[in-house]
């Protein structure tokens, strides 16, 4: 199996228009969660979300177009022979809102396949690309799929772009499921009461080490292992025993050929819902037994960015490995009793070369990636 290097990484979140700004916000313990002004929320069980500053649709456009511009402008010289994989759960679903309200729209971005088509065109890539849709693990699986193409020798360079936006379509849905917090997500807190939606994007360029050398690209980190598994238990609720997440993480650790003691930290999905966070702690306890491994969640700061969550967390995970420090879990006040020794509202120094990042979602999906520290800070 060939090594899979991450050679470029970018992020846009509600904390800032770059990975660096997002990182600084996280480390300062800031949250971007605030009252939504994009659409009326008075009939929903929350008014809070983490929306990106000044992200407004252009004339008859979807928000996804602007977000695409903001993420792509951060990339440096993507080889035109790169394969393209995008990840989104709803792409430009705000265009559908307009269609159903009989408002004018221009280029509809409703179909998920329109995202790779648009990005391929903008970057002048030979590959038209595909989109992967697997709920909140979409981009985790997209990174895993891209890595597998490089590892197996089927590709030299793969670009993963992931994004989702805060729309009334999605907001109203999570409200109808009573899944949203009215005050802001507090992952792993004993008084957590739901998730908060966020919007964001990430781009991750992966290459074989040979291709990275040829193109003079830095080694930001390695996608060392990956795994995915289904709970086969419930469509919208996680399996209480964490069976799918355990299976996905074990596959990832096995592929990375590292023992659990090599993992320096875990970036959890950590949505702030009662059952998700409980399931994750159960799974991590099972995987790591009595090891006290630092765990964090970024969703109290940038919200739950759905299909973009896994990609953003890969970018931030590499940053954590590089600096050997795990950002605080923003929103955490008093930890859930079972997570008391794992999570922190303060940054935590870590020591090691590997970080496990996991995501789970509707449809019983679970995915895990083992990241390895790169040579370039």
């Amino acid at each position: 199996m060939r090594q899979v290097w991450v050679t470029d990484a970018a992020a846009v979140t509600a904390l800032g228009d770059s990975c660096e700004k997002t990182w600084q916000g996280l480390m300062a313990g800031r949250t971007a969660i605030q009252a939504v002004s994009r659409f009326p929320t008075f009939n929903y069980n929350s008014s809070m979300a983490a929306c990106i500053d000044n992200l407004t649709p252009g004339d008859n456009q979807s928000l996804i177009q602007q977000l695409t511009e903001r993420i792509l402008c951060q990339l440096h010289n993507v080889p035109e022979t790169s394969l393209l994989i995008t990840a989104t759960t709803k792409a430009g679903i705000d265009s559908l809102e307009k269609i159903r309200r009989h408002q004018p729209i221009g280029l509809p971005d409703i179909l998920l396949s329109s995202l790779p088509a648009s990005i391929s065109r903008k970057l002048k890539l030979a590959d038209k690309g595909i989109n992967i849709s697997a709920a909140c693990a979409s981009s985790t699986i997209a990174v895993a799929h891209g890595a597998s193409l490089i590892a197996s020798g089927n590709a030299e360079s793969v670009l993963v772009c992931c994004m989702d936006t805060v729309t009334e379509f999605v907001f109203s849905g999570f409200s109808s499921l009573n899944a949203m917090s009215d005050t802001g997500a507090r992952p792993f807190d004993k008084d957590r009461n739901g998730l908060t939606l966020g919007e964001g994007a990430a781009a991750i360029l992966m290459m074989s080490s040979k291709a990275a050398g040829k193109h003079g690209k830095p080694h930001l980190g390695t996608i060392a292992g990956w795994g995915a598994a289904n709970d086969a238990a419930h469509i919208t609720a996680p399996a209480r025993d964490g069976c799918g997440l355990i299976q996905a993480a074990q596959k990832a650790l096995k592929m990375a050929a590292v023992g659990k003691e090599a993992i320096a930290a875990v970036n959890a999905h950590g949505t702030g819902t009662i059952y998700n966070d409980m399931m994750e702690i159960t799974a991590f306890r099972s995987i790591f037994h009595n090891c006290r491994i630092p765990v964090n969640s970024v969703k109290g700061a940038i919200g739950h960015t759905l299909g973009a969550a896994g990609g953003i967390e890969v970018v931030l995970g590499l940053k954590a490995l590089s600096g050997q420090i795990l950002p605080p879990t923003v929103g955490l006040n008093i930890p859930e009793e079972t997570a008391m020794d794992l999570v922190s509202s303060q940054p935590v120094n870590i020591s090691g070369d590997y970080l496990l990042t996991t995501n789970s979602g509707f449809g019983g999906v679970n995915a895990a990636i083992v990241l390895k520290r790169g040579k370039t800070p």
Partner: protein, 244 residues
């Protein structure tokens, strides 16, 4: 890179079922049948009545394919993955859901419909009903009928991640005219799924050997395959030989 096809299942405007019970697959355009649980699942599934049309169609085809491969029954969860291609996905459900949001500014938003506005949900329903714990995801391709999910499933078998995969497509066509390059509604309505295995397992038959070249070109029994329907047709040609 080789594997064998051990099961075929489909739902189309003209027929539905599995390979064992038919001698060909017809995927003509047209309205799809109203699928009832007893038509496709042997045991009760309490969620079936709540599912959207996209999920029922996809789940039914997967169910038929697993039955065809003698993998319908289980007593212990199995590490079998499912990958499905789609172009329009659950857009029809998206529309029906958002039409519940508009009238009272969200007050009447339907949680039952919202749960099915993710096109991977029917893979989760199949995973629950058949105890499948492998990876499950949707691949959205620009062109309807793309075979990326088959290529991916074959690569997963080769990598050793799974020994059995279910792959195919599910599409209900375009519910709204879209004035862009993906908006041409030349989609075959329905679902067609295949069970592919590294080595034949419980199944009493195979439909032949799949081979993928380095350039991702796929062959079944050394016949080059261009699309899903051609793959099914080629399966039946081989199957005739097996019956003889």
């Amino acid at each position: 890179m080789t594997a064998v096809i051990t099961g075929i299942g489909w739902v189309s405007s003209t027929s539905m079922g599995c390979g064992t019970d038919h001698d060909h697959v017809s995927m003509k355009k047209g309205p799809l049948p109203d699928i009832k649980r007893k038509m496709v699942l042997a045991k009760p599934a309490k969620a079936f009545g709540r599912m959207d049309r996209f999920s029922k169609t996809g789940l039914a085809a997967i169910s038929f394919a697993l039955k065809d491969a003698c993998l319908e029954t289980w007593d212990k969860k199995r590490d079998i993955g499912i990958i499905a291609s789609t172009t329009y996905g659950c857009l029809d459900t998206d529309i029906r859901y958002f039409d519940t949001v508009i009238p009272e500014q969200g007050l009447l938003a339907s949680p039952g419909l919202f749960a099915y506005t993710l096109s991977n949900c029917f893979l989760g329903e199949a995973a629950i009903y058949f105890g499948l714990t492998g990876a499950g995801y949707i691949i959205n391709e620009m062109l309807p009928g793309g075979m990326y999910s088959l290529q991916t499933a074959l690569r997963i078998l080769v990598s050793g991640e799974n020994d059995i995969m279910v792959c195919g497509f599910c599409d209900l066509g375009n519910p709204i005219p879209l004035d862009n390059e993906t908006g041409t509604d030349d989609t075959v309505s329905g679902a067609l799924f295949f069970v592919i295995e590294k080595i034949p397992g419980k199944s009493c038959k195979t439909y032949g050997t799949l081979r993928m070249e380095e350039n991702s070109r796929i062959f079944l029994n050394e016949t080059a395959i261009d699309n899903w329907c051609m793959l099914a047709d080629t399966c039946f040609k081989k199957n005739d030989a097996f019956k003889a």
